[in-house]
Amino acid sequence: MVKILDKEIPNQLKELTVQQFEDITSIHAQQDLDAIEKHLKVFELFGITENDFEHTTIEQFKTYVKDFNNIKGKPELQSTIELDGYKYTAFEGEEFKLSVRDTKHIEKVMNSRHKGYISEMLAILFKRDDLSKSEHYDTTHIKHKSKMIRELKSELAVPYLVEIGQKLSKEIKRNEAPEIVE
């Protein structure tokens, strides 16, 4: 937790929910906002409004931002989670493997750039042990699961975001159909 003005707000990955993390990510992705506007909006998420900073100097504001962004520790990949009494598994064994099928679904979700894409990406990765493939990838099931995942802590999501980002940037080379050069 971090103290901003006189209020304690969550800032560590084990404190923020996936939904809060998605909200923060979404604010930072808004290109029409400048850096200060983005941080004001982030603080607003936690109940601190722009008016509350009326008497705050720019130096003090910068310190608040720095404190908020000071993330400690590096969470590990969790291969299983439990939701509503069901066990969900993202990968077996020691090493995280990304299947072609999951990647295709994740790519689609990421391309849609909607606010809840992180929880949806996790919903694709974590599979209920007792369900078939078609049941697992069913859109309604994924939406339902991502809704539950949104309530979990963001320490679950961040290592996967890093891992998938690395894998995709390494594996996928953008290709375009060559234009005819006369």
């Binding site: 493997k97 990304l98 299947s99 072609v100 099928r101 990647t103 295709k104 790519e107 689609k108 391309n111 894998k167 995709l168 390494k170 594996e171 996928i172 080379k173 953008r174 290709n175 375009e176 159909a177 060559p178 005819i180 050069v181 006369e182």
Partner: protein
């Protein structure tokens, strides 16, 4: 899984299939579909694999990001490329249609107009079969040729077309209209003129042929069989002399 190593192992049908897959927006999904088309396996089979395994296969097919060879074969079996300078009006109009409506999709239709059966006449001159067939009936004959053998006709025609359009630009550049003014409110006369212009563009070739055959449809075939260059020279002359 056997993968082709270059365009020389790909036929026209596969090439068209691959190019159609470029409409898939997601890069990875598109690559998997292309891989599946080239390997002749269903994408379902590939989807169970790990991304890194597929990545090695994708590295083997990077040739698809380049163009096939432009050095096309002038003779393939019974076919010979008809020189573009000898095109007739009818052939040119049909080629224009196929080029304007996705020339990759219509590659075989284009090939069926450009590759023709031929014979040598009693004077030892090369003579091409007349354009009395429908490219829609013949296009499948070109599906199984190697893409490297015929792909080059596309850039060749585009280059010919550019020269042709430049040479006869006075006949093609008729009041293009100003795109910037598109959103400005128009008077009723202006919108009527715009509608007429759109209609003229829509019926461009038909209107030209209709005028060339002096509004006598029984002469239509005679006009479409006329040499393209001769026809456009005459049209240029008519325009310049205001005839």
């Amino acid at each position: 899984m056997k993968l082709p190593k270059s365009w020389s192992e790909i036929d026209v049908l596969q090439f068209k299939e691959i190019r159609e897959l470029y409409s898939i927006e997601e890069v990875f999904a598109r690559e998997i579909e292309i891989l599946s088309a080239l390997a002749g396996v269903s994408s379902d089979e590939l989807e169970d694999l790990d991304v890194s395994e597929v990545s090695n296969m994708l590295n083997d097919i990077t040739f698809i990001n380049s163009e096939p060879s432009k050095n096309y074969k002038r003779d393939i079996e019974q076919w010979k490329v008809k020189p573009l300078s000898k095109l007739t009006c009818g052939e040119f109009i049909d080629l224009e249609y196929f080029f304007a409506n996705d020339y990759i999709k219509h590659l075989c239709h284009i090939a069926s107009i450009m590759y023709r059966q031929h014979t040598t006449n009693e004077w030892g001159q090369l003579s091409f079969e007349p354009y009395e067939f429908n490219p829609f009936d013949r296009h499948e004959l070109f599906d199984e040729y190697c893409i490297n053998d015929i792909y080059g006709i596309i850039p060749e025609y585009l280059s010919f077309r550019q020269d042709f359009m430049d040479k006869y630009h006075l006949l093609f550049n008729e009041e293009d209209g100003d795109e910037e003014d598109d959103n400005k409110p128009m008077t009723s006369d202006e919108s009527k003129a715009q509608a007429e212009q759109k209609s003229a563009v829509k019926w461009g070739w038909e209107r030209l042929l209709y005028s060339l055959c002096n509004e006598d449809l029984t002469k239509f075939k005679q006009v479409t069989d006329l040499p393209l260059i001769l026809t456009f020279n005459m049209l240029s002359m008519k325009k310049e002399l205001n005839l």
